[in-house]
């Protein structure tokens, strides 16, 4: 992991989407007056005829994407997670997922790491909302390389996908890593604990692993980039091989990664799970780094969770 070189997943997404546009002319991009900040403006500059600014009207944007998909286009739809999964939930459910249409919802500014904008813009329920919709697949990527891979990967999937992206710049984790849709990435081999993390907090978990190593505690981190379908095998294997399971996410502890892991273990290998996330409350304004600390989903909190109860 390169702690000095940081990039937000929205940035990697925007850059890669503009590259993908040159390889696949079925791809069209829709945005809701946020292309400068979701980074779909790179695509818009290169392919103005395949980019549609739909204005501040996310419900219509989702429905329009559905219509485009019925005619063979592959729409990538982007706006903040709050508006994609929240405001336009009914349209995502009924116009996109029910007919299983080939729409890729790339939602940026997810989680409390949106920062200063505060609770109204900090979407902490999207993984929960999106993963309960039949036909929907859900991803949440953790770094530059993984996000670039995911952008290409979801274009190959026939059907709706929700890709959760963040505003907060985080370290580049991977070099030459092979990813597979629906398969978590195991980092480290420790058996003292497994930290299953997703998205923006994966690098926090890796830093916690490194710090714990200096204290003689060896853990492993699972980077769960695909939330649905969830990688059952790696969860069950980790529960069998390690002493405890901790989940970490920049999301409400209800309904997201932590819940998905609990569902797998409850049915297959009952194990106590400690869920770290936003503890069923709204976010607040602040700098992203400060908020990770405040809501106890940063490196320090992960180290504490493992050492206190060790």
């Amino acid at each position: 992991m390169n702690k000095d070189e940081k990039i937000a997943t929205r940035q990697s997404f925007g850059e890669e989407l503009a590259i993908l546009g040159g390889k696949n002319d079925k791809i069209v991009v829709l945005d809701a007056d946020l292309s400068v900040t979701t980074k779909t403006n790179y695509f818009a500059q290169k392919f103005p005829n395949r980019f549609f600014d739909m204005g501040i009207a996310e419900q219509n944007m989702m429905g329009t994407a559905a219509g485009l998909a019925t005619c063979g286009k592959i729409p990538f739809v982007s706006t903040f997670a709050m508006f994609a999964a929240g405001r336009a939930y009914d349209q995502v459910r009924n116009s996109i997922c029910y007919p299983n249409l080939n729409v890729k919802i790339c939602a940026t500014h997810a989680g409390i790491t949106v920062g200063e904008d505060g609770a109204t813009h900090q979407m902490i329920e999207d993984l929960s909302l999106m993963r309960t919709i039949p036909n929907m697949k859900v991803m949440c990527t953790s770094d530059d390389a993984q996000t670039r891979w995911a952008v290409n990967e979801i274009a190959k999937i026939d059907g709706p996908v929700y890709l959760r992206l963040c505003r907060y710049a985080t370290p580049k984790i991977y070099e030459n890593q092979k990813f597979e849709f629906g398969k978590g990435v195991q980092i480290g081999n420790g058996t003292d604990a497994t930290v299953i993390a997703t998205g923006v907090v994966v690098s926090e978990a890796i830093e916690a692993m490194e710090e714990l190593k200096t204290k003689g505690i060896n853990i492993r981190v699972i980077d769960m980039h695909t939330i649905k379908p969830i990688d059952k095998e790696i969860i069950i294997k980790s529960a069998k091989e390690t002493k405890k399971i901790i989940t970490v996410e920049d999301h409400n502890i209800i309904g997201g990664l932590g819940s998905a892991v609990c569902e797998v273990l409850a049915e297959n290998y009952p194990t106590r799970v400690y869920r770290m996330g936003i503890n069923d409350r709204f976010g607040k304004s602040g700098k992203a780094g400060e908020l990770l600390k405040y809501f106890k989903i940063d490196k320090t909190a992960i180290v504490e969770a493992i050492t206190q109860d060790n």
Binding site: V28, R50, A66, T70, C71, R93, N94, S95, Y98, P99
Partner: protein
């Protein structure tokens, strides 16, 4: 031709009543009000082929007021997209004919709808795709006059004219009734024509239960350039069945046996065997 289309509309109405009667649920009122429009669209206007329902050059149709699918299913069956006997199974657990249109399983359905307010957006997407690909197909949609109370309709209407979708033609089924009563008493979306005009549509007001007026409006719509067309179709909810006409209570209610027989008699139909 006009007499043939009148006969088609009559058959759509008869089959609508049968579907709802057999299902013991469904939405007869708003289905009967759009029967004439569907007859003209499917039997004169639209380029569709039941043998090739997914033809990429076909004209598209979106029933934004998806609950009125009994009339649409009847039109599709009469056109030959599936066997007319399937209508008997409307809303049945073993049938593909879902309570609201399901594009994945019903031949001839171009968009799944049901949650009101969403169809115009999908129609916009289809029209946009047609423009991008240089295709000459047209996209039609029917919206309810109550349905346009949904905010998404106006988001979509802005986009229809922003993107100059002159390959799009929508009908507003102005039967003046929604579940809770007259649309002007409930929340009042009038004036509908002026609203669509201000949103950049070419607007026509017609009698939506008059075949030749529907035909004329559709012909005019094809001449319109750089603008989408909205046809405000004044209709009668429950049209053709005296005791259902202009009665809000027949929005989503099935007739009992006596009412069923009376309705068929008025429409000039006969009960199956």
């Amino acid at each position: 031709m006009e007499n043939d289309l009148k006969e088609v509309a009559k058959q759509i109405r008869i089959n609508t009543i049968k579907e709802v009667y057999y299902a013991k649920s469904g939405h007869p009122g708003g289905s009967l009000s759009i029967a004439d429009i569907l007859a003209v669209l499917y039997f004169k206007e639209m380029n569709v082929d039941p043998r090739n329902p997914k033809d990429e050059n076909r004209d598209r149709f979106v029933l934004s007021k998806g609950h009125c699918c009994p009339a649409l299913y009847a039109a599709l069956a009469l056109k030959g997209f599936f066997d007319i006997s399937e209508l008997r199974n409307f809303r049945n657990i073993n049938s593909k004919l879902q309570g609201h249109p399901d594009m994945r399983n019903i031949p001839g359905i171009d968009m799944s709808t049901g949650s009101l307010g969403q169809g115009l957006s999908a129609a916009n997407g289809m029209a946009l795709a047609g423009k991008m690909d240089g295709k000459s197909y047209r996209v039609y949609a029917i919206l309810g006059d109550g349905e346009i109370e949904e905010g998404q309709i106006w988001e979509a209407a802005m986009a229809s004219s922003r993107y100059k979708l002159d390959n799009l033609c929508i009908f507003i089924d102005n039967n003046n009734l929604q579940i809770d009563g007259s649309i002007d008493k409930v929340i009042n979306p009038y004036p509908i024509d002026k609203k669509f005009e201000e949103f950049g549509f070419y607007v026509m007001n017609i009698d939506g239960n008059n075949i030749s007026e529907i035909e004329d409006a559709l012909n005019k719509a094809k001449e319109v350039k750089e603008k989408p067309t909205a046809i405000i179709a004044k209709t009668i909810k429950g049209k053709g069945v005296s005791f259902m006409e202009n009665v809000a209570g027949w929005h989503g209610k099935a007739p009992n046996e006596e009412e069923y027989k009376l309705a068929l008699k008025e429409l000039g139909g006969e009960a199956d065997e």
